[in-house]
């Protein structure tokens, strides 16, 4: 809403509306100008209310005054219009309270639709609309390095989607030379162990440069953030604490500044506490600290581990900054070899935060919107029927002098009153289910804590209720409006118009239900497709435990290898345990890493990137990864013996097609680790994440490539919990300062984002689709039942004349089937036309799956039949004498 020139421009539509409602001429223009002026003042005030929302809320009351009271009109207008509205509302309440059952059903149905939309909107509001806690969010960008080539053996899409981290040298070049940024900072996600009286806990840590805090522009709540001198090698060890950690673990100790906290066993002096709600790079970080010396001093341009964030300098656009970074990075690449085949790309930081959750949120919102539409159609239908049944009452009122305008207004008022009551119930229901619902959402919701019923959400619910009221009241009001005076009393309107309007609603409901049901089935199918893909390892009866050695114990490679070998050997020897092993990178446990590497091929050495995991000898057995050729890694592959590697099938196929991979060599290109390793075996591919394809990977033994972090995996058929306890104790027997958490491997998979979002989509869609189908049944039933009631006389005559019962049954069932088929056809067209706009990650198997669409069509046909069965049966039981007498 704000342009760089400082000129304030309110939402165009709102201003147009105001211009329309205000009186003509300079008086009206001055009203619009006043609103502009106040809008500028609101922008300057830095209020938390989003400017466009503020403007709408400001303008609407003026518009209402303008329309109903007539700005500048005669003074008598006010009491007349107000009096009319009050009278209509009261009359509506009285009429509705006369049939409490029907009214409650209407209110409940509307509440269902409005509550769903309100819940979905409050999530959208918190995640996508509420501005983040840092200033000028549009200026904050993430700077990422992407490959421009695809290394051999990697799926194209995977490479295109993965940025890769930046080494400190590259970051410093960017920081020193780029002119487009006011501040630039780098950071790396880490964990810290911290000892509490209840045992060691693992803290979410971020090692960052001071520039990252300057880029965010958020001050510490207490003390300060990091300083530039703390970025230097040999600088002091300091820590900035997250508000959550400070409150939860340190009991909001106000004297914490200056105290030293042991993090990973190393004292860090606390210099600041950040405000709660500060989310960098994500919510819930416990500790920020400068990069440790060995990371700052990383000697090469390969093997990066930093992510970069920057704030655009004043007046610099994203495009200009991108242009500079592209040129700068290309020059660095030409000057230094290490940057070959990569490019720097800028992304809006805010966009990065919401991108992951947007498809899920929007799916939820649109599905909820469809359910609302269906419930409106349902209610409109119901009100239409009621209006028809009240023809006589309305006709008498007309005869007594009530104008068509008044009667139409009354019908709309009734619908509005119903919708507002429904909206009230909906808001209460939404408030009740919102918090538990958000905690089950699979995607990390930006600003999850901000989800709630706030003024924006209330306004939304109010607008939706009014819209629903108008939508449902319009049909009966329109009908009254069009009927000629007196005709209401004479007959009950023409049969044709009445059932046509009703049928339109019923068909619409079936069509919407078709859309939702196919969405639900398609997402369920995608979910099953992903879950049934062979991951390449066994997941049953597997317990996993992440172990990270304290900093002091990390550097002695032999000791690290000994620790993990002994730990897994001890666990493997336990009764009930059939195998135990550990790996630095394990599927579904989070990160993947692709260090630079070289492979010996027929044409010489090829520089590439490979996935690498350093494992203990028991890992393949514990994970159930099968050996294809050669031999596995064994305890005999020690530090002093021939360096060996085991590769996966994808790597073997990619680099040595039609050749024997055994005896070939490859190596890592990392500082301090570039020894050639001989391939001794080939194992099956595994998938590291949901829906991912396998990539080239090799395994090394922990003895020959000691890494201080491992995930220990135990295959145990004992489910008494004793094994889990033994795993914890095995670690604590050597060090009590290592935090551990044991989970099942199944549990790890179920927590992975791909799994949870696919499951969430299919579940949410299933719930909403069921609601839609139920509402559609009610809709079809209502129409068919009404038809039967209206045709009592005709059916009575048919029975009296000896018409067959099956004939009557068939004619009613056909009516229901016809409605259903029309709805299905329309729904099919909608699905086919809109399917390609749906998010491919939620609908992997496409949206034009004939089998699924056929199933949905059949399902709705049966539903249509079922809905007309009861009225059809009733039609056959009509007593001709009574039917004929009642007319």
């Amino acid at each position: 809403m704000r342009r760089r020139t400082g000129e304030a421009v309110p939402p165009r539509m709102a201003e147009r509306l105001l211009e329309w409602a205000a009186p003509r001429g300079r008086t009206g223009q001055s009203v619009v100008g006043d609103a502009r002026e106040e809008f500028s003042a609101h922008l300057r005030s830095g209020s938390a209310v989003p400017p466009s929302l503020w403007y709408w809320l400001h303008v609407l009351p003026i518009v209402v005054h303008g329309i109903f009271l007539g700005l500048g009109a005669s003074p008598g207008a006010l009491p007349r219009v107000l009096g009319g509205a009050v009278r209509d509302g009261r009359l509506a309440l009285r009429t509705l309270s006369r049939s409490p059952g029907a009214s409650s059903a209407v209110i409940a149905t509307l509440a269902l639709g409005i509550a769903g939309s309100t819940v979905a909107f409050s999530i959208v509001n918190a995640a996508l609309l509420v501005p983040p806690s840092y200033a000028e969010p549009d200026e904050l960008v993430g700077i990422y390095r992407f490959r421009t080539d695809v290394p051999r053996g990697f799926p194209d899409a995977f490479v295109a989607s993965q940025s890769y981290s930046v080494p400190p040298i590259t970051f410093r070049d960017w920081q020193d030379e780029a002119r487009s940024f006011e501040a630039m900072g780098a950071f790396e996600g880490v964990t810290y162990s911290y000892s509490t009286p209840d045992g060691p806990v693992r803290l979410a840590g971020v090692n960052a440069t001071s520039g990252a805090f300057r880029a965010f522009g958020v001050d510490a709540e207490l003390g300060r953030t990091l300083l530039p001198e703390e970025d230097e090698i040999g600088g002091p060890r300091v820590a900035v604490l997250g508000a959550g950690f400070w409150e939860r673990v340190l009991s909001s100790d106000p004297g914490i500044l200056g105290k030293a906290l042991p993090l990973n066993g190393v004292p860090h002096v606390v210099v600041g506490v950040m405000p709660s709600g500060f989310s960098f790079p994500y919510a819930g970080v416990d500790v920020w600290a400068p990069l440790p010396d060995d990371r700052r001093g990383w000697p090469t341009r390969s093997g990066g581990f930093l992510q970069t964030v920057g704030r655009l300098a004043d007046g610099v656009t994203m495009e200009e900054a991108q242009e500079e970074m592209t040129t700068l990075h290309a020059r660095l690449a030409a000057e230094h070899g290490g940057e070959r085949d990569s490019t720097a790309r800028l992304y809006s930081w805010r966009e990065l935060q919401v991108a992951g959750s947007r498809p899920g949120i929007l799916l939820l919102l649109s599905a909820a919107g469809l359910v609302l539409l269906i419930s409106c159609a349902n209610i409109a239908n119901l009100l239409l029927v009621r209006a028809l049944e009240r023809d006589r009452e309305l006709a008498i009122r007309t005869a007594l002098g009530a104008g068509r305008r008044r009667i139409a207004a009354q019908l709309i008022s009734e619908a509005l009153v119903l919708a507002l009551l429904g909206g009230g119930v909906a808001v209460i229901a939404a408030a009740a289910i919102l918090v538990p619902l958000v905690s089950t959402l699979p995607f990390a919701l930006p600003n999850a804590a901000g989800v709630g019923i706030d003024p924006t959400v209330l306004t939304f619910a109010l607008l939706v209720s009014c819209a629903a009221g108008l939508a449902t009241g319009l049909a009966p009001a329109w009908r009254t409006w069009r009927s000629r005076t007196g005709s209401l009393l004479r007959d009950a309107g023409s049969e044709g118009t009445r059932s046509r309007a009703q049928s339109v609603f019923a068909v619409g409901e079936v069509a919407l239900a078709f859309v939702l049901l196919s969405g639900a089935l398609l997402s369920l199918k995608s979910f099953l497709d992903v879950t049934s893909a062979d991951p390449g390892f066994e997941t049953e009866d597997r317990l996993a435990m992440r172990v990270e050695l304290p900093r002091g114990d990390r550097d002695d490679g032999a000791a690290v290898a000994l620790f993990y070998n002994e730990l897994t050997d001890r666990l493997a020897a336990r009764p009930g345990v059939s195998a135990a092993g550990s790996a630095s990178q394990m599927p579904y446990s989070g990160g993947v890493s692709f260090p630079p590497a070289s492979v010996e091929t027929r044409d010489g050495e090829e520089a590439t990137n490979l996935h690498n995991s350093s494992v203990t000898a028991g890992y393949f057995d514990a994970a159930g990864i099968g050996l294809v050729r050669g031999r596995p890694l064994t305890p005999e592959d020690r530090a002093g013996t021939l360096p060996v590697a085991v590769v996966n099938e994808t790597l073997a196929r990619a680099f040595w097609p039609d050749e024997d991979p055994l005896g070939r060599r490859l190596r890592l290109d990392l500082p301090g680790d570039s020894v050639w390793r001989t391939v001794v075996g080939v194992v099956e591919d595994v998938r590291y994440g949901f829906g991912w394809t396998p990539f080239p990977e090799f395994y090394t033994t922990i003895a020959q490539r000691p890494l201080w972090y491992q995930t220990v995996l135990v295959h145990s058929t004992d489910d008494s919990g004793a094994t889990a306890q033994a795993m914890r104790e095995a670690v604590w027997s050597s060090s009590t300062s290592i935090p551990v958490e044991v989970t099942t491997w199944d549990g790890l998979i179920r927590r992975s984002s791909g799994f949870t979002s696919a499951r969430f989509a299919s579940r949410a869609m299933a719930v909403l689709a069921t609601l839609a189908a139920l509402l559609a049944v009610v809709g079809v039933y209502g129409v068919v039942a009404f038809t039967v009631r209206r045709r009592r006389h005709e059916f009575g005559v048919r029975v009296a004349l000896g018409g067959s019962q099956p004939g009557i049954l068939l004619s009613v069932l056909t009516r229901g089937l016809r409605l259903a088929s029309a709805g299905i056809l329309i729904g099919l067209v909608v699905v086919l036309a809109t399917g390609r706009f749906l998010d491919p990650t939620l609908f992997r198997s496409g949206t034009r799956d004939p089998a699924t669409l056929t199933v949905v069509a059949l399902l709705l046909m049966v539903t249509g039949l079922a809905a007309s069965a009861l009225p059809a049966f009733r039609a056959t039981r009509i007593d001709p004498v009574r039917a004929l007498n009642s007319e």
């Binding site: 304030a8 223009q29 009203v31 619009v32 106040e38 009351p61 209402v64 005054h65 700005l71 003074p75």
Partner: protein
């Protein structure tokens, strides 16, 4: 036709316009009412009241050309007419007469 008395909001708006002098624009009047009287008036009621006061001949306005901040839209500067001042004075007298001797009952203090 009987004598017409000023409504409470009408009095307040007239007083605010008087206090603001050369600065009596609609937005300023609203700010003045909020600041000095603690009264949050909706824009609709304010415009309505100003219209009514003009119809009664108690205020008049002239329009000035707009600033960029107002998107170039004109603004109205309100002034109280002699009739308006007379109406205010009458209202004040009527109220003072009625208040006379009531403060003791209400527990207030004479100033």
């Amino acid at each position: 036709m009987g004598k017409s008395y000023l409504g409470e909001l009408e009095q307040m708006v007239l007083l605010a316009v008087l206090r603001l002098g050369e600065e009596a624009f609609a937005v300023a009047v609203m700010g003045e009412l909020d600041r000095e009287a603690g009264r949050k008036v909706s824009r609709g009621s304010l415009y309505k009241t100003l219209d009514r006061l003009r119809e009664k001949g108690l205020v008049r306005w002239r329009t000035e050309d707009g600033t960029p901040e107002r998107g170039g839209k004109p603004r109205r500067l309100f002034t109280v007419t002699p009739a308006g001042i007379e109406a205010l004075r009458e209202s004040r007298e009527v109220l003072l007469n009625l208040w006379d001797g009531v403060l003791g009952t209400l527990g207030g203090e004479e100033r």
